[in-house]
């Protein structure tokens, strides 16, 4: 599997660390209730087909990416930066 890193170009998936489901919304910092955090930490959908995932280019530019990918065929559609260098960052 190749991931099109916006910084480094097409790179092998072995250079990246999978960092989890990018659709799981982290509750706001001030949220103290247990339920939303349990949802965020433990509850995961396991979609078949298109999915958004975090991948970090640990053996490259170290940037965190959101990768849009098909979990069934492993086809990678796009990868974009998140964080300070991403859109709106």
């Amino acid at each position: 599997m190749l991931i099109p890193c916006p910084v480094c170009g097409q790179r092998d998936a072995g250079e990246f660390f999978y960092r989890g489901d990018a659709t799981a919304a982290r509750p706001p910092l001030e949220e103290e209730a247990e339920r939303p955090w349990v949802e965020y930490v433990y509850a995961r959908h396991n979609p078949r087909g298109e999915h958004l995932e975090f991948w970090q280019h640990a053996h490259g530019c170290r940037q965190l990416l959101v990768v849009r990918r098909n979990t069934e065929t492993h086809e990678v559609f796009e990868a974009r930066l998140v964080g300070p260098f991403g859109e709106g960052g």
């Binding site: 190749l2 910092l29 640990a58 086809e75 990678v76 998140v82």
Partner: protein, 1027 residues
Amino acid sequence: MPGFRLASGGTRIDRSARFTFTFDGAPVEAFAGDTIASALIASGRSIVARSFKYHRPRGVFSAGAEEPNALVTVGSGAVREPNVNAATRLAAPGMEVSGQNAFPSVERDIGAVGEKLSPFLAAGFYYKTFIGPLKRSWMWYEPAIRRAAGMGRASLEPDPARYEKASAFADVLVVGAGPAGLAAALTAGRAGARVILAEAAPGPGGALDLEEADIDGRPAGEWAAAATVELAGMENVTLMPRTHVWGYYDGGVLAALEDCGGEGETRCRHWRIEARQAVLATGAIERPIVFAGNDRPGVMLASAGLAYARRYGAAPGGNVILFCNNDEAWRSAGLLAEAGVKIAAIVDPRTEILDALARPLAERGAEIILSHVVAAARGVKRVEGATIVPVGEAALAEAAGNIDRPGAQAQESEQGEDAAPPAPGGALERACDTILVSGGFNPVINLASQAGGPPVWREEIAAFVPGEPRQAFIAAGAAAGAPTLEIAINQGAEAGALAASAAGFEARNEELAVKIPVEGLRVTTEDGGLLPLFEVEPQGAKPGKAADKAFVDLQHDVTAADIRLAHQEGFADAEHLKRYTTLGMANDQGRTSALAGLAILAGEREMPLPAVGSTRFRPPAIPVPLGTLAGRERGRHAAPVRRSPLHHAHLAAGAQMMEAGLWMRPRIYPKRGETLFAAYTREARHVRRAVGIADVSTLGKIEVAGPDAAAFLDRVYANNFSNLAVGKARYGLMLREDGFVFDDGTAWRLAEDRYLATTTTAKAAEVMLHLEFLAAAAFPELKVSLTSVSDQYAGIAVAGPKARELLARLVEGTGMDNDAFPFMGVREATVGGAPALLARLSFSGENAYEVYVGADHGPFIWKLLLEKGADLEVAPYGLEAMGTLRIEKGHVAGPELNGRVSAHDLGMEKLLSTKKPFVGKPLAQRPALSEPGRLQLVGVIAADEAFRAGAHLVAGPAEQPGPSEGHITSVTFSPALGKTIGLALLKGGRERRGESLYAADPIRGGHCRVEVVSPHFVDPKGERLHG
């Protein structure tokens, strides 16, 4: 028995280079270019193996990767290689080859008693017998069964061979250099695409050398040679012979195994090929027809018989009967006869055969027996004859039910003058030493199946062809079901052009239009005149006498009866059948057996074969030595070795080094003749008495900078960092999102907007990833940058009552007394002239400093500390003493921070800030994480005997220990207390101080009394470190 080497012929052998190797100790003559199998056949050897379950004698069955029988062991000792395919492995002078699954030899195998027990070894036997009421007995019988049934055995010694891994990139990868593959590579190469042509065989051409054909106006062999020369001349084309592509993975990544053929030091090479487009021209392999005794040595695929004769000048036998249902096999027989092999008879269930095929054979004396099938092979150690019955009297398993059976009985052969008409209703007996069999051809669809949808049934060849691609591949040639050479080669050319244009290269239209004329012996109808037939059901030769076994899967000894039994027991799905009977699960991946199995199942279910479906192929398509997947990454090369900047200083000081994760770290600095125990207790005692220095370079160091650095640390640590003064350090506890303890360390405030955060050695990389993730995904609004500076610094801990005095001699730029440089203070200064960061921190419990200098300055400063402190008795201390000192102080480390402890378990709940939010806070507050009955950190002291880490804490003595109440995580002998002490995680431990328990170590031995105490053994008030 005289040899079967023909007087002439053999395109792959060099008759001028003769050598010998041994098979089961006996010498075998061979020519350069012979495979093990061809040399054995030429030498007249019939039995080359014993079968998997029944230990039946077996001979060579094929001439390729599909070989189910001729698996042998090559070499001995450390280089013993089991399960080598004799049909593809080249023989070499002096090679030691031995038969498998037999003792003492394949000729005389005492295990053959398995034959008499065979009624007990039917499908599902193991499940039925050893699972269920008797299931506990499996563990007793398993070793014996595994010895009796099985393949070769691997060497127990380390493999001395070298393996390599490499990557390759292509616009178009062509798999298979047969006619279709060569044509595809040519068109794609001419279009300018980067082409890789991978071929499992040593040379190109595929099965062209078994054809009599002209291509582009010249003999097929010449055409293939010219194509290869042209390809070799193209800079954008790479030829990869002896490279078998075995896996097709996501994103156009293919795996291949290159057999380096004993040249150079490397045995084989694993290729990872990234291909934008692939052309799968993997060809087709002949399939057998199942009949009783079809596993006897001397039964062989027809095309293999021709391959041995043409390529190696080795006749498959001296008196051959061909049993086939298609024209291609007649052509093979014709070529065999031309090569000088005696064809005694040809048995075909069809009612008529074209004169052009039959006449030449009849003229050479072959008996043509149409409308008949071979019902049984006679003979045990070698075929001695065939029982031939009329089609109408045999029960046949055919595909899709399209045998025209009523007509078959009535019609007489049109070659009546040559064919001996069978006695109506009677079985014929014919003597022979070889039965060549051909049931048609199966496209090789392993790769296509891995990367595509379910295979599609193609009626005219009665076989499956590749299904809908899910990746960018095109199947071409015989692999795609092309019935003739002409169609195959043009499909290849077109596929090459299509693939090249899909990869963005202009493949010119005229190339697409090019038709390579194929002329030659093309006398049959386009579809090859196939009459689908998979099985002749066994029938007793004499009334009351059971027929011999009819094998579907020769390699796993799965019989037709096994398949019927499986169906009867409800395993009627193709995937269930495979798993219940193990049909098609061995080295050969069911290449010659899967379809016949499905045909029999379809017959039982009374439905057309394609309706039964097929099983999906998974990688690897061929056996892959595990060593090749490891490549060079084994032994010392399995993982990188990390060395601290002070590594050579440790070696110079006589340190005994040890592996700690990836790091090499000094364990002890033994004096001459000193034991480990003596050395580490001396070093630890020395630190408490004078001053010691230790290498702490391996700690993770992360610079956290930016206007929001303080806010960021407040969020990622459980305790507060924004209120830390510049020039001060603080211990920090980090939780995971789930509320459990992740890591600990100190963070130093170097400036208003700049911190240096340290991590444990083990978690350095994980903490960095964790912080980077949080900064990017959770808190993108914070202006903060994270930089790993772990490798930029050499870190030296200077600890002990004389630490201050020693450092004062070398430090410039800061005072060293308690006011100028208080406990937990951080100073930027110089040490021995080198810019340095100093922090007054203590892991040991003594007054201590951590000195960080540039990595390159490290060795010099280390040496300087030892020189300038000689009169203060400064001495280095290693990892063991560091452990002793921290256990004496009750500081937690890796063994305690095991990912399952909460802050409360460690007695650190006060570090969980109530004034601010932080990562892990909401879930850390779950009541279960502070339940009193949890495993909690305690200290344990040995009452008398020493205990070991990993021992469990129990209430009772050895005779009646009772359940485990926790375990000991870290142990040391404490010089300060004169006793063995340890840290432990004990149920409800915080309330159990003073209790007396036992440390139980039943596996390694030991059961001794311990006392539960506070984990702070030495100087619990911390007076020494403030000194």
